[in-house]
Amino acid sequence: MGPDYIITAVTFMAVILNFIALRRKASKKDLWSSTTILLFGGFLYMMLIMDIPLPSFVSVMGHIFGPLAKPVMNWVTEGKVVHG
């Protein structure tokens, strides 16, 4: 748990510092793009450490490609030499 809180704190510190640093010298597009990416990262990390039931990327893709992926899975694993 220790590293989780440290990383969350560092992420939100980074959001603030990034905003202060870029506000003066960077264009608006740069500022908002970087702030959005940082905030998205911070909130995703918070959701993960708080165990919010977020489906993983692979399971999301599994749902999208499900009808196609299952027959392919059967085809690939059919007659599999070793079930490791």
């Binding site: 990390y45 599994g62 490791g84």
Partner: protein, 392 residues
């Protein structure tokens, strides 16, 4: 945009390390569990398909040698479709970077530093990657040049030291159930790493002597084919089919078998070094590709402003892509389907559209070849649909 330039040789070395990347370590396990002792044949099948993919990328890349796929995607398909293509590539390389980060974290966590939290392993590998990306493409190219000979020397020494432990009988009987198991085993390999080579469509504009790319890229592809086949053959001959299929990091376990009397033992960390070198380069190139794709997608002026924010996004993303190792096998099936769009469908469609529109505008405007500056913005009012002269 990054104003740096790399040579065709540096590009080729980068692509070699990129293709071998993380696949070198996990590939034998995946292949052998499906194809058994014929896993080496799957590598050859994928190698041939890879040559076809490289031909497609070269044709497309050389039509617009001073632009990335995101830039000419917008020129060819218009603002909305072009932006959709840009978003697809941005997300694809972001997810790929997250997968590679997770693979490295899993590897270090499970065999080298088992008591260290996964997050710490990933942060440690991300720090030099972020710094390398911040310094730009020239530094990435030179890093590849420096690391490549070390990886090769260690690979050759390891292979030589393993000769006494090799049992060629493990490769026989060949094709006991026909070639179909080998064909099936090539499926996961197509997505990881063959279709990922589409990242070259973002890197070609940074290459200085582009007329040499074609030759070096084909040599690289053949070299990866040979390296991959050798890795599979050596792993099967040393560990046997059962052990290779059960070991998630088979190449690392192969190195445990190195024993030269009592002088040289526990040499697996040496293999760990090669693997970290190739994975580091792969992660670095993926990260750079993600940043460049985002910069061009949102018309950001200075790419360096996005490097550090992306490192903070990558960490949770790499935890999110796979929640547990059970999903790893499922990702081997799903991932190639996802990679098919940015890796094959979009480049093929753009090539066809480019041919048609180039022909159409060629009839209207004559054969005036365009000459675009390197730092050309996507939002220029006059679209340049004429292909640039191809370097031969």
């Amino acid at each position: 945009m990054d104003k740096g330039k790399i040579s065709a040789q540096q590009f080729a070395l980068m692509m070699y390390l990129f293709i071998i990347g993380t696949a070198a370590l996990v590939q034998p396990h995946t292949l052998v569990s499906i194809a058994g002792q014929d896993a080496w044949f799957s590598v050859i099948i994928v190698g041939i398909i890879q040559l076809g993919l490289i031909t497609l990328y070269m044709k497309l890349g050389f039509r617009y040698p001073q632009q990335t796929i995101i830039q000419y995607g917008r020129l060819l398909t218009g603002k909305w479709f072009g932006s959709a293509i840009a978003v697809v590539y941005m997300l694809y390389f972001l997810i790929l970077t997250a997968f590679v980060t997770r693979n490295i974290g899993n590897f270090i966590g499970s065999v080298v530093l088992p008591q260290t939290p996964l997050v710490v392993n990933m942060v440690v590998i991300l720090i030099p990657v972020v710094y390398g990306c911040y310094l730009g493409i020239e530094v990435i190219g030179r890093t590849g040049e420096i690391l490549f000979p070390w990886a090769m020397v260690v690979f050759v020494i390891t292979a030589l030291l393993l000769i006494p432990k090799m049992h060629p009988g493990e490769l026989f009987p060949m094709f006991p159930e026909g070639v179909m198991p080998a064909v099936k085993a090539s499926y996961p390999l197509l997505g990881f790493p063959s279709l990922e080579i589409s990242i070259c469509l973002l890197l070609i504009p940074f290459v200085q002597n582009q007329q040499k790319i074609k030759k070096y890229f084909y040599i690289t592809s053949v070299a990866t084919l040979i390296s991959g086949t050798l890795l599979s053959v050596i792993t099967i001959m040393v560990l046997g089919v059962d052990m290779t299929a059960r070991s998630p990091y088979a190449v690392y376990d192969v190195a445990r078998e190195i024993r030269v009397e009592r002088v040289l033992e526990r040499a697996e960390v040496i293999v760990g070094i090669i693997w970290l070198i190739t994975s580091f380069m792969k992660l670095l190139i993926c990260f750079y590709g993600t940043v460049i794709a985002t910069v061009q997608c949102f018309d950001v002026i200075n790419y360096k402003n996005l490097v550090i924010p992306f490192s903070f996004l990558l960490l949770p993303l790499s935890l999110w892509v796979l929640r547990n190792t059970a999903e790893l096998e499922w990702s081997g099936i799903v991932y190639p389907m996802m990679a098919l769009f940015p890796g094959f469908v979009i480049p093929a469609v753009l090539l066809i559209v480019g041919n048609f529109r180039g022909r159409g505008s060629g009839q209207k405007q004559g054969s005036v070849a365009q000459s675009q500056p390197h730092s050309q913005s996507q939002s220029q009012p006059q679209p340049h649909l004429q292909p640039q002269p191809q370097p031969e």
